[in-house]
């Protein structure tokens, strides 16, 4: 029956070495009942990817495998993105080795979730030892949109677009959180935007349910979320994941939409042997803009495992004349109150120089300057980039923030609300005169079946610690 699995089509030269074995099995297969699927002999998918979809190009290659753009062959409307998880290889031959826990989570969660601001899964096809997740296609993502604005002449993202993106992003986030899903990897590359301006949270590869009762989220995981978007409590060694972690990332994304560069662009300290290093550089970047955290504003700070490392960081230096703040202690225990007062104003300074800044070269005639976001924009940012996870805004609170004119809930979106000062569009491109460039789709490799890279599953993943060690190197 393995005859029906095109033997190792996916592995070039490997198929040669695989042949004798396959031949033998095919002879044997002739004697077997072809209906004894799966539990005996060979599993065969009832649906074939290639019967149903035509791949038109290659989009991206990630840690787990590849993403392709496809059209339906059976009259399905719209475009699709097919995420293919690579199979594992044992030597040269592709083998079933058990699906990684993160892939299982992504498959299970995507199958449940249904919300306008979360990427829609169409189906999952398990075929030829590979997993194909078929999603609705999104023409853009935030990384690409931000990048477009950095191109000469550098120009800010229009404030209405920023507002709409933030509102939709928070709306998707609220949906995830009320359904006990933590995303854990929010960053511009994982936030999709459709051609009609709908924002869709994508890549649930690290997402987890946080309502498993007998089992807090302590276990196994050590590293979560791309370092630039990682919340301070994680950097300080907390192993307890809460929705607040996603909201820190949302705050970072907000800042990035304004300044067009990652707000805390640290360098990741590599894991050496078994010890998880303190991410000093990343924490330092945060401190430079936020000031040092202290226990007045974050009461549980002193009980964080990496608390002692804080004293080795350099507090931000303000340019003379810019601020009345005189001198900066090198130890967080001294001058507590002064740094407490300072930490807000550092971010405030960052905000006001960003929205009034020289990077914003848009003429009044174009889609408007960021200054219109005003102090409410700052308050929202500060609420999201709040050191203390317990005080940080929740998604629901953020949606009700005056920044959005008190629109509040999904029902306010896209609808003129007489009482609120303005309306938040469910199309983040509304009113824009120019369109963003479409996603780059390459033709190099669009054979979804044969393309093969060296084993590139999501690896070194915290909670995939049960995987054989050798794979950690693969990434």
């Amino acid at each position: 029956m393995s005859l029906t699995n095109p033997p190792s089509a996916a592995s070039g030269p490997a198929s040669v070495s695989a042949r004798p074995q396959t031949l033998k099995r095919s002879v044997q297969a002739a004697f077997e009942d072809p209906n004894d699927r799966g539990a005996k002999g060979g599993y065969q998918s009832k649906v074939k990817v290639m019967d149903k979809y035509r791949v038109v190009g290659f989009i991206s290659s990630g840690t787990y495998g590849r993403v392709y753009k496809a059209h339906g062959r059976q009259g399905q409307p719209g475009d699709f993105a097919i995420k293919k998880f690579k199979p594992d290889k044992e030597g040269e031959q592709i083998q079933y080795t058990g699906i990684s826990q993160s892939a299982i989570r992504e498959m299970a969660l995507c199958s449940e979730l249904r919300h306008d601001n979360v990427i829609r899964l169409i189906e999952i096809i398990l075929e030829d030892k590979c997993i194909f997740m078929v999603f609705e296609y999104a023409e853009h993502d935030l990384l690409q949109i931000i990048h477009h604005h950095t191109q000469q002449p550098r120009h800010n993202i229009p404030p209405t677009t920023v507002k709409s993106i933030m509102f939709q992003l928070l709306n998707g986030c609220q949906y995830l959180h009320t359904n006990w899903v933590l995303h854990r990897d929010l960053k511009p590359a994982n936030i999709m935007v459709t051609s009609s301006g709908q924002v869709k949270i994508g890549d649930l590869g690290l997402a987890r349910l946080f309502n498993k009762p007998l089992h807090s989220l302590f276990s196994g995981d050590k590293v979560v979320v791309t370092i630039w978007y990682r919340a301070p409590e994680l950097l300080l060694g907390s192993r307890h994941y809460t929705p607040a972690i996603d909201l820190w990332a949302v705050g970072c994304i907000f800042a990035e939409l304004l300044s067009l560069r990652p707000i805390f662009k640290g360098e990741e300290a590599k894991m050496d042997k078994k010890t998880v290093p303190f991410q000093r550089n990343q924490m330092q970047k945060i401190v430079e803009i936020m000031g040092l955290p202290n226990k007045e504003r974050w009461p549980l700070l002193t009980s964080m495992p990496e608390y002692s490392n804080l004293s080795t960081l350099t507090p931000p230096i303000l340019h003379p004349g810019h601020h009345h703040h005189p001198h900066h202690p090198h130890h967080p225990h001294h001058h507590k109150s002064s740094s407490a007062a300072a930490s807000t104003s550092y971010l405030e300074r960052w905000y006001s120089s960003t929205i009034n800044g020289h990077t914003s070269t848009s003429s009044p005639a174009s889609n408007g300057s960021l200054t219109s976001l005003g102090t409410e924009g700052y308050r929202l940012l500060a609420g999201l980039l709040e050191y203390d996870p317990e005080k940080r805004l929740t998604a629901a609170q953020a949606l009700h923030h005056p920044f959005f004119g008190g629109a509040g809930s999904a029902s306010g979106m896209g609808m003129g609300n007489a009482s609120s000062a303005e309306r938040i569009s469910g199309n983040c491109f509304e009113g824009l005169k120019t369109a963003y460039p479409t996603r780059r789709v390459s033709q190099d490799d669009n054979d979804i079946r044969t393309s093969s890279l060296p084993g590139t599953k999501r690896s070194g993943l915290p909670d995939d610690s049960l995987r054989p060690v050798k794979r950690v190197k693969d990434a």
Partner: protein, 317 residues
Amino acid sequence: MAANFWESTQRRHWQFSKDELAQMRENLEESEQSLVQMFPLPQRRHLNIYFNQQLGRLGKRLGVRQQALATAQTYLKRFYCTVEIRRTNPYLVIATALYLACKMEECPQHIRLVVSEARTLWPDSLTLDISRLGECEFYMISEMHSQLIIHQPYRTLTSLQSDLFLSQDEANLALSIINDHYMTDLPLLYPPHIIALTAILLALVLRPNSPGGTATNMAAATAALMQAQAQAPGRTSSSNSSQNSVGVSDKERQQEARLNKVQRYAGFLTESNVDIEGMVDCTQELISFYECHEQYNDKITREQINRFVKARGLDKP
């Protein structure tokens, strides 16, 4: 969705009426007539008892917690809704369900370990390696359309335990009734909270040594449900048996306290506006399962399963 049962795939795709379920099974057997005739099998509940035992044995060797066992049992049930048992090696399917459930319930087991424990456990009925288990995992996920998140009754029980002032004994009994319901069709028929509420009811009324046995227990459970059903929402319980409590024996007093508790529970059900008819049906299913459990013959069940496994060469890859 994940936390919202009403929008979950479990509710939308994996909850059937009794007729639907019977129809699915009939269709399956019809399409496999000759196999079905050649290899008779015990009744489904007895098969379930056997599968449950085997799953439990494997789970024990691996130190798997109950939640994951329950999820594995649900996977088995779903899988066998669409696949004829005689076309599979049930030991392979059991091992796969457990391996997958452990990942889903956040207590992953290394595939190598699952394979080696399964081999030790079923040396004569299953030739197993990693690739075979991995393949069956594909098969299972595909049959379930990747709908792997299972809502279980345990959460309802835990959250109601204190609200309803359940004693530890009562809570434990309810827990074991929930564990047992995985050997019936109930997980495919009713939402988890109905199961949990029924288990609590039975825990309150079931008395193993009560004279009259099952019939009495059933009567007590039904009476409580009838009471709940009869009460219009908001109306307070009319009958009250606590008036003449002078001069009664300890035993009687206990009995009476229990009755009060049952009545209070009936009141709670009325107010919560739950599907009482569903609970009546669940109660009947459970009671009849316990009766049918007494006729279970392990040896015959095992032999009948092993017979088709061997005869059809399903033990080998």
